[in-house]
């Protein structure tokens, strides 16, 4: 009965064509000789060469990467702790509120999150700039990390933790030597997700950033409003390339770790 009918295959093919065609077209036209983005005039990499001379764009890229690295790292620590709190301690005061604060940012319209964080920074007298931007990014990306790590922790075999504790390991040692190595692939994909979300964000960044801390999406946005140009296509293509590489590496790493883990478990049981 489990048959892949023609209808199933057709809907998948059309679905993926719909998902990928716009991105593919954008990449193709970044190599267009002509200034017009919709008329093909031959292959050229001149728009990429021009990017190297666009200092404002390079500065923005540098800010974006720094914010991404710092915020993804802090968000991964906080998100992993949050995931532990959610899965390990089913009863504590204010747990409902806590889980609300984890899930709500996932769907909260960005204009609300951005505006509210900006008003907080103004209220406590923090100058808008690189650090407010980073704080905002940590806050909204940590919830995504928490959800990713949480789903791994739910399928986690806790008897190995109990074994470590019985053998006299402290909770911290147990976490670092037993739990963390097992959930590491999920923590790593959480980091990658946080990094790409930070790299990508426009609305929250625009609210929480200040002079001197313009990110790449903010720069792209201000140029897009003036019209579509092959130069933006080139920037976008590079970003897509970086993200695709990151996802590819992440999936290879996590698959390898998973295979290794299964092997280790089998060896352990065989002993």
């Amino acid at each position: 009965m489990v048959k892949w009918s023609r209808f199933n295959i057709a809907s998948i093919v059309f679905g993926f064509a719909f998902l990928y065609l716009p991105i593919v077209l954008l990449v193709i036209f970044s190599f267009n000789e002509s200034k017009l983005v919709t008329v093909w005039a031959g292959f050229s990499t001149k728009w990429y060469a021009q990017l190297l001379h666009n200092q404002a764009l390079l500065d923005a890229a540098w800010v974006t990467v720094r914010v991404g690295l710092i915020s993804a790292t802090v968000a991964t620590v906080l998100g992993t702790l949050a995931a532990l709190a959610m899965t390990r301690y089913t009863r504590f005061r204010g747990r409902m509120l806590f889980s609300g604060m984890i899930y709500a940012p996932l769907v909260m319209p960005e204009v609300i999150t951005g505006l509210s964080m900006l008003l907080l920074f103004v209220a406590i007298g923090l100058d808008r700039g690189f650090w407010t931007l980073t704080l905002a990014h940590i806050t909204f990306t940590m919830c995504f990390v928490a959800v990713v790590v949480q789903s791994r922790l739910l399928s986690f075999d806790r008897s190995i933790e109990e074994a470590a504790m019985d053998l006299g390991a402290t909770p911290v040692a147990t976490f670092l030597q037993v739990t963390l190595p097992v959930i590491a692939p999920a923590v790593f994909s959480g980091w990658v997700l946080a990094f790409t979300l930070s790299l990508d964000d426009l609305v929250i960044s625009n609210f929480t950033s200040g002079p001197g801390a313009t990110t790449l999406p903010m720069k792209i946005y201000s140029q897009v409003r003036l019209g579509v140009t092959p130069e933006i296509n080139a920037v976008c293509t590079i970003l897509i390339g970086i993200v695709a590489m990151g996802v590819l590496i992440a999936s290879v790493v996590s698959r390898r770790r998973e295979i290794q883990r299964v092997k280790d478990e089998q060896t352990a049981f065989a002993l």
């Binding site: 009965m1 489990v2 892949w4 009918s5 209808f7 199933n8 998948i12 679905g15 998902l19 716009p22 991105i23 954008l26 919709t38 906080l78 998100g79 702790l81 709190a85 301690y89 204010g94 806590f98 889980s99 609300g100 604060m101 899930y103 709500a104 940012p105 996932l106 769907v107 909260m108 319209p109 960005e110 204009v111 609300i112 505006l115 509210s116 964080m117 008003l119 907080l120 209220a123 704080l135 940590i138 806050t139 940590m142 949480q150 789903s151 739910l154 402290t170 909770p171 976490f175 997700l193 790299l199 990508d200 609305v203 792209i220 946005y221 976008c236 897509i240 695709a244 990151g246 996802v247």
Partner: protein, 303 residues
Amino acid sequence: MSKFGSAIFNRLVIIIPYAWLTIFFLAPFFIVLRISLSETAIAMPPYLPVFNLADGISGIADKLGELSVANYVFLAGDALYTNAYVSSLKIAVVSTIATLLIAYPIAYGMAKAPTTVRPTLLMLVILPFWTSFLIRVYAWIAILKPEGLLNQLLLTLGVIDEPLIILNTNWAIYIGIVYSYLPFMVLPIYSSLEKMDHSLTEAALDLGCTPIRAFWRVTFPLSLPGVIAGCMLVFIPAVGEFVIPDLLGGSETLMIGKTLWNEFNANRDWPVSAAVATILLLILVVPIMFFQHAQAKADGEGK
């Protein structure tokens, strides 16, 4: 030591993320609420009253009296804002339904795919989600423009005689939302369909159900949790969407996310934008709680 250390560790695991989210996510909403009750002023910060601990208790009490609901009265009286809320909700509902109609067959096809192909298909659905939202929306401008790729194709094929005007209309917004949020709808539906016990459908078929009836009586109800989660994941952010109406929509397009952005960035009216945000949040609080509840339940089942 061990017991003591253990207690501290357990505490910290909860307290650190809890405190962070309370300060940076929850507290700001109260500040938004409070500023929405203020008046615009030419100052920095551009609103009045500004509370200052140096004023002492009586000073703060005086200033509390200065808070007013004038901004809400203003919003209610101005058709621009009410229309923006209504039109945002309408656009979000229509595009959520459209996304569901497109996503369901894809998720269904994926769940029916041979197990060896499934991880690859899953990866292919997730990949666009990692690509920049802004870039994916931007990509559609070149396609939908009057002299864009879609019109070129249709004109060459002879389907149309003159270019369709899609960009800067609500059609472009629908396309943009469906496109950008499609993976959010496909993934939860796929995961609920994948978990499903196929013997149930077989039983229905054996008992004489037609395949279509079996789908509506058995498969669809069982996939409902995924459908609901997907709809929430699309609907809630779509109501407050800014990038899509701004880049693909036209001047006549009213969406509240864009209104809020303009109020804040162009008009610099912080109290009014705070009031706009507060009302938007009130509209969304029920769907958000619904989403949280469904999500927590789904995670609980994983145990």
